[in-house]
């Protein structure tokens, strides 16, 4: 694995120095993106997102839960990412690895900060319970850039979620009433850095080669989540440029994907 990584890394670096990528893309170009919504009818919302060979399913379940003591008027939003062993040969059954926890938390921050869902609207009158939204991210094929694929899938699923009827403090799953109102469309853009070269939407091979990575989630004119990962640093100037690029790309994606 280590040898493979080194050979790969050299190859990817050499290509980048000639302004090329292994799959022929431009440095700031996404792979083909496709989103199918409503693919799991038993879930209250769902979306399958494909970026190149990466395939992520997001499924939304609605439930009832006790509100947090410090936020008695707010519903609960809970995001979980599952590296199902289906998704890659190094994904193992069992408790989630740190990468899955990080992924879930970054996606959660992006959707939560953007206020895509009004958590106060999940309060139930005259009840000790509030509605809870469970977002499950199922990583079925990992070819890099799980952050962007997962955020896209989660947002598309939330925007196609129907709230079930609540009766006597019970959810009637067979009866769906209204669409979940959404108020934002956060989009994340993930960049990789090797030496002074920066690329958008790294593949799995590129992720093994890059030394620094940053994910910037934006919602209209706001930055709503950032995650800098891997060792190499970014300059202030680079980060500000990447914020601009993220906002521009997010705008393009919203139009192209009609979400």
């Amino acid at each position: 694995m280590e040898i493979q990584r080194e050979i790969n890394s050299e190859l990817i670096k050499n290509l980048l120095k000639q302004a090329k990528r292994a799959d022929g893309r431009g440095k700031l170009q996404y792979r083909e993106i496709n989103i199918d919504v409503g693919v799991i009818p038993n879930a209250e919302g769902s979306a399958l997102c494909r970026i190149g060979n990466t395939q992520v399913l997001a499924a939304i379940k609605i439930g009832l839960a006790t509100p947090f003591p410090d936020k008695p008027d707010e519903g609960i939003l809970s995001t979980n990412a599952e590296f199902t062993p289906i998704g890659a040969s190094h994904f193992e059954p069992g408790p989630p690895p740190v990468e899955a926890v990080e992924l879930a938390r970054v996606v959660d921050r992006g959707i939560r900060s953007s206020n895509i869902v009004d958590l106060k609207s999940l309060k139930i009158e005259n009840s000790e319970f509030v509605k809870a939204i469970y977002v499950d991210l199922w990583i079925m094929d990992h070819d890099g850039n799980l952050f962007d694929a997962s955020t896209l899938a989660a947002v598309a699923a939330l925007k196609n979620t129907f709230l079930p009827k609540i009766e006597d403090n019970k959810v009637v799953y067979t009866s769906r009433e209204e669409k979940l109102q959404t108020y934002a469309t956060p989009i994340s853009c993930t960049f990789g850095k090797i030496d002074e070269y920066i690329i958008l939407d790294p593949t799995f091979g590129e992720e093994m080669a890059i030394e620094g990575m940053i994910t910037i989630t934006t919602s209209d004119q706001y930055v709503c989540a950032v995650q800098k990962s891997k060792g190499a640093g970014f300059s202030k100037k680079e980060i500000l440029e990447l914020v601009d690029i993220s906002m521009q790309k997010a705008k393009e994606l919203r139009q192209m994907l009609k979400i």
């Binding site: 009818p41 395939q55 809870a132 469970y134 079925m140 094929d141």
Partner: protein, 270 residues
């Protein structure tokens, strides 16, 4: 002995459910979803839907949606599970927390999924030519993305396709279907409601060429004649399902095939 459906009804009452047993077969002999008693739900199979896995298959059976991936033969970890004589075939059946029209599921394997993992592994134990790959493991991962009754049968059917897609040598193909008893009649391919309110559920997996029954479970009460009728009904259906498996594998070799999941693949009435 009390009839089983009475027991089930009492259990539901205890849980405070206000459900009454629906009429599972109407006066025209049609079931809740309009099927005849010997009719399968529509089925669609697509092989090779994933890029990373060595073999994969997606099956859409009625409202069920199941994804199967095969990795291997590969290094067997933990090493003490490895055999010097053959590959270890390890199937893992998982219900995703969002697959049912109920509340969000809990993480981790349940007693039910552990049992199913075991019997599905055993279904393929003598089918896979494991002696060719000593000291290795062949891992089969089954994720039930949407469930509506009969998931283990759909999973076995898809697993056979995924193993073949992975290029694992097999002695035979395996397909499965459930038969059951509802309204005192033996019927084919129980849906979730028919399983919940019916009198008996018998999932059956069979090898195609030599008709060996490799998985057989049942609950409820059946006479010997009803058992026999169920086995006959299952055999006919399994032969038809095998044709779909073959078509899916052939399609995977066409130049038009793409390695992507399509959750709404076309289903066929067979």
């Amino acid at each position: 002995m009390k009839p089983l459906d009475q027991d089930k009804k009492n259990l539901l009452d205890l849980e405070g459910e206000k459900m009454e047993t629906p009429k599972l077969i109407d006066e025209n002999g049609k079931r809740l979803d309009g099927r005849a008693i010997d009719e399968l739900r529509p089925i669609g199979i697509k092989a090779r839907v994933l890029n990373n896995a060595d073999g994969s298959a997606f099956i859409r059976w009625g409202k069920n949606k199941i994804l199967v991936a095969v990795y291997g033969p590969r290094e067997c970890i933990p090493k003490h599970e490895a055999s010097p004589y053959k590959a270890q075939l390890r199937c893992r059946y998982t219900m995703t927390p969002f697959c049912s029209l109920e509340e969000h599921g809990k993480a981790g394997p349940s007693r039910r999924s552990l049992e199913l993992s075991k019997i599905i592994s055993e279904t393929f134990e003598k089918i896979v030519i494991a002696e060719n790959f000593p000291k290795t493991a062949i891992d089969v991962y089954i994720d039930v993305l949407q469930s509506d009754g009969g998931t283990r049968c759909a999973a076995v059917t898809a697993t056979s396709v995924a193993l073949a897609d992975a290029g694992i040598p097999l002695k035979d193909m395996v397909a499965a279907v459930a038969v059951g008893k509802i309204e005192n009649k033996i019927v084919l391919d129980l849906s979730k409601d028919e399983d919940n309110y019916g009198q008996s559920d018998n999932p059956i997996a069979m090898s195609i060429r030599d008709e060996q029954i490799l998985l057989y479970q049942m609950d409820g009460l059946l006479t010997k004649e009803e058992v026999e009728k169920g086995l006959e009904l299952a055999t006919d259906a399994i032969k038809k399902i095998a044709k779909l498996q073959l078509e899916a594998l052939q399609e995977a070799y066409l130049p038009t095939h793409d390695k992507f999941l399509d959750m709404n693949i076309e289903q066929k009435k067979i």
